[in-house]
């Protein structure tokens, strides 16, 4: 069969419903790298893949993530969870020092942090684990807020601060508060409160003047974690 005759079968092939003799005919074109049919089925496959976005999205259980990661790192956690928990533990001790809050507030905040980290409903995104700095993880919970755990932050001059941004899929970044790094250049920062997770595009951090700003300085964004 000619490419022209097979044209209408690119989608049925991609969807997996093509039948003989068209299937065999198209396969022959693909195997010889046909310059019309190969891009044709690619485009059709792209179209079929988009059908997946019509599927009702369901949050997988949190254990599935561990199962998948353990496939490739059976001996140790694939992500440095020990560091993460150490960071959370450090938060128990250090948060009050930065916020000047009382012991009670400190412990409430620490509890909030641990709660978001351990809640299976939290969506987690790792960022930057392969680049030298910074790296960490963002936890997003629809009612509890956005938690950032980050290490290897740059050292800032005295007149600068870190500012977190919640970036919606459409619209301007929303300032989510300023924070300082611990002496070891890590930080744990929680922006409590409800988040519209369906509209959330990314969580980012920029370096701004002390006190923070209303719009991020684009070339001062040090990292961003797309929330997929």
């Amino acid at each position: 069969m000619t490419c022209e005759e097979l044209r209408g079968d690119y989608e049925t092939w991609a969807l997996g419903v093509i039948e003989e003799p068209e299937r065999g005919e198209l396969r022959a074109h693909l195997e010889r790298g046909c310059e019309l049919c190969v891009p044709g089925v690619r485009s059709a496959m792209e179209f079929v893949t988009t059908l997946s976005s019509a599927v009702k999205m369901v949050e997988p259980p949190a254990r599935l993530r561990k199962r998948v990661i353990s496939l490739v790192a059976p001996e140790k956690p694939a992500f440095p969870w020990s560091w993460l928990w150490a960071a959370a533990a450090a938060a128990l001790l250090m948060v009050s020092g930065y916020l000047g809050s009382s012991r009670t507030q400190q412990s409430a905040r620490s509890n909030q942090i641990l709660e978001i980290m351990s809640d299976p409903a939290s969506r987690q995104v790792a960022f930057g684990p392969n680049s030298p700095k910074p790296q960490g993880r963002v936890f997003v919970h629809s009612t509890k807020g956005v938690l950032l755990l980050v290490a290897h932050l740059p050292v800032l001059p005295a007149d600068k601060t870190f500012e977190m941004w919640i970036i919606p899929k459409a619209g301007a970044p929303v300032p989510a508060g300023i924070f300082a790094a611990h002496p070891d250049n890590s930080a744990n920062y929680l922006k409590p409160g409800p988040v519209d997770t369906s509209q959330l595009g990314a969580v980012a951090v920029s370096i701004e003047n002390t006190g923070g700003v209303q719009h991020p300085t684009v070339d001062q964004i040090i990292f961003a974690a797309p929330i997929v």
């Binding site: 989608e11 969807l15 419903v17 893949t49 976005s53 599927v55």
Partner: protein, 196 residues
């Protein structure tokens, strides 16, 4: 409007390409990133087909392992990692419902050829977003009942056109026409939505 550019920059900074390269280098952290990026949509697709949460978990795990094991055949520069992974996920699910339904008529070679990494080149990378989902859902509502049915049977149950004809009690030729017109209608509708 700084946002679209910003988001693009964000995606480019930690995009498919870098992730694929890290997977090829057997960086276990990359597997975590891959899961965080596509785990939810893969699980949703598999669950929609197999309709059993426990089985869906197993098949998603298998999907990620398959991608990990085959990523060296993937073109990091031109490949669409998400589309490939989703094709693998859907194939695992279809393979499962076919074999459990004693429908062994088609072999897994056919699934293999549809998930060959060379297919997933030069595609749009950021297709999994709520905007896209809305367009697809709108397009699906424009199909007539029979057209919707054949797309569902194909997508969710992996039926061949002959199997659909049998299931629906219709001549094969009629089913083929429904499938073709449904697919054409969806593509036209999406093309229109994109160009607006």
């Amino acid at each position: 409007m700084l946002i679209p550019g910003l988001i693009l920059a964000l995606e480019a900074s930690e995009g498919d390409r870098d992730l694929a390269i890290r997977l090829q280098k057997r960086d276990p952290h990359a597997m975590a990133v891959l899961y965080d990026r596509f785990g939810r949509v893969a699980y949703s697709v598999v669950l929609a087909v197999v309709k059993d949460a426990g089985i869906a978990e197993d098949l998603v795990q298998e999907t990620f392992l398959r991608v990990w094991n085959r990523v060296n055949g993937f073109d990091a520069e031109r490949g669409a990692l998400g589309s490939w992974l989703l094709a693998v996920a859907r194939n695992r699910a279809i393979d499962y419902v076919r074999s459990s339904g004693a429908r062994m008529g088609r072999n897994s070679f056919e699934l293999e050829e549809r998930e060959h990494p060379a297919i997933f080149l030069d595609m749009e990378k950021s297709i999994f977003n709520s905007d896209q989902a809305r367009k697809i859902k709108t397009a699906l509502t424009k199909l007539n009942e029979n057209q919707q049915k054949v797309i569902e049977l194909a997508y969710y149950e992996g039926l061949s056109q002959s199997e659909m004809a049998e299931r629906m009690g219709q001549p094969l030729g009629t089913v083929k026409t429904w499938v073709r017109t449904a697919l054409k209608c969806l593509r036209d509708e999406l093309g229109r939505a994109v160009s607006v």
